[in-house]
């Protein structure tokens, strides 16, 4: 029961925060706020590009198989205003991603926050409470 409540809370929080993601296009058309994901894996590729930064991580599933997930962040400018640099993610880093999965069920997610290999958790250009932080 406790677990179920946690999931509900996560779903509700995701519904709230996910709306802030990806201001330049429709978040809801692509991602499902009702499918929260919590992924830990190793960075395989970084695309520090406009309009949105992407990076890719190998994540082990319950069968011990590795899947390569594409993770969407905000724009490089928006990330830099939140404390990221273009060197924050390096190939091979172990990171954790909280976000929402793509509607089509593919291995793609829109991140709300990322815990870097340094242990620092940064918002992904999507969920800060004040207006300044709304800029993607």
């Amino acid at each position: 029961m406790r677990n179920r409540f946690l999931i509900t809370l996560i779903a509700a929080t995701a519904a709230f925060t996910a709306l802030r993601a990806a201001a330049h296009h429709s978040f809801a058309a692509e991602f499902d706020a009702d499918q929260p994901v919590d992924l830990t894996g190793y960075v395989t590729k970084v695309e520090w590009l406009n309009p949105h930064t992407f990076f890719y991580i190998d994540v082990e599933d319950e069968n011990g198989e590795y899947n390569n997930w594409a993770v969407e962040l905000g724009s490089p400018n928006g990330l830099m205003r939140r404390g990221w640099t273009r060197n924050s993610l390096q190939i091979g880093d172990e990171v954790n991603v909280e976000g929402s999965r793509a509607r089509d069920g593919s291995y793609k997610a829109n991140a709300r926050s990322v815990r870097l290999s340094s242990g620092e958790r940064l918002f992904a250009g999507s969920s800060q409470p004040d207006v300044e932080e709304d800029a993607n």
Binding site: R2, F5, T8, A12, S26, E30, H52, N77, D134
Partner: protein, 272 residues
């Protein structure tokens, strides 16, 4: 925990999330320090600049920003299209294609901006970090607003402006094309659109923005929206080129599941 309290807690979680959203949405109520009085030029004219930039909020629901009325005076087709755009999760938003935001939406799309007032009083330039590296030019030399039929329709239209009491920049714009939405929520317009925007700076840290939408092709009467835009002291604009890697388009599908843009395998035709 029994089932009942679980439901109650879940309801509270959803309510709390909803309230957070409502607070973030309401016009001009974002918590920020009003700061000292707004800067002024030597002649007393309000100065919209300084060492900083304006940080637009993400205005997502136009109806929440209405001034003096409860409902947007839609014509049947704009009402139906707004509902359709919501049902399709605003997937067909022109801004998703990296096209410019258009008039009032520029001030409600969460990328920062600067307002530069020409000291000769002839022009005001609005620079916007988002979109496609876009700006707006407002003619302040007293020229009249041209007839829209004489203009080539554009994303931002043609703007003339004047100051009211040294405090408010009033901008009138016509000559819009029909390739933008008025807002993210799927509120649409025609090329009959004319806007009257009012920019004021009640204190250093607040830009008050108001826009009146006049479009007999889309709405039965003029209607007005307003919101506040906070100042970020010491911040600067950065380069942002939306078209660089807009992979959203590759995966974009219409409501029948067909991709908007097809991937085509091309056989390279190398010379022997």
């Amino acid at each position: 925990m029994n089932k009942h309290s679980h439901l109650k807690l879940a309801a509270f979680a959803i309510l709390a999330a909803g309230m957070g959203e409502a607070t973030a949405q309401g016009g001009g109520e974002h918590e920020h320090e009003p700061g000292p009085p707004a800067p002024r030029f030597d002649d007393g004219l309000i100065d919209f600049g300084g060492d900083g930039i304006w940080m637009q909020p993400w205005v997502r629901v136009m109806r929440d920003r209405l001034v003096g009325r409860e409902e947007i005076p839609y014509l049947p087709w704009t009402e139906a299209m707004q509902a359709y755009n919501q049902e399709t999760r605003v997937a067909y938003d022109p801004q998703g294609l990296c096209l410019p935001p258009g008039g009032p939406r520029m001030m409600g799309t969460p990328y920062p901006s600067e307002i530069i007032q020409d000291q000769k009083g002839e022009r005001v330039i609005l620079i916007f970090e988002g979109g496609t590296h876009v700006w707006r030019e407002i003619h302040m030399d007293g020229r009249p607003l041209p007839d829209r039929e004489s203009l080539n329709p554009t994303y931002f239209g043609y703007s003339v402006g004047h100051y009211e009491n040294n405090d408010t920049l009033v901008v009138e714009t016509t000559g819009f094309n029909e390739k933008t939405w008025i807002l993210f929520d799927g509120t649409m317009h025609t090329d009959e659109l004319r806007t009257i925007e009012r920019f004021s700076r009640p204190n250093r840290n607040t830009l008050h923005y108001e826009a009146t939408i006049i479009d007999p092709g889309a709405y039965s009467e003029p209607w007005t929206v307003a919101w506040d835009i906070p100042w970020s002291e010491g911040a600067e604009l950065s380069e942002y080129i939306c078209q660089e890697n807009n992979v959203f388009l590759i995966d974009l599908k219409d409501e029948f599941g067909n991709p908007f843009f097809e991937r085509v395998e091309v056989e390279p035709d190398w010379p022997e």
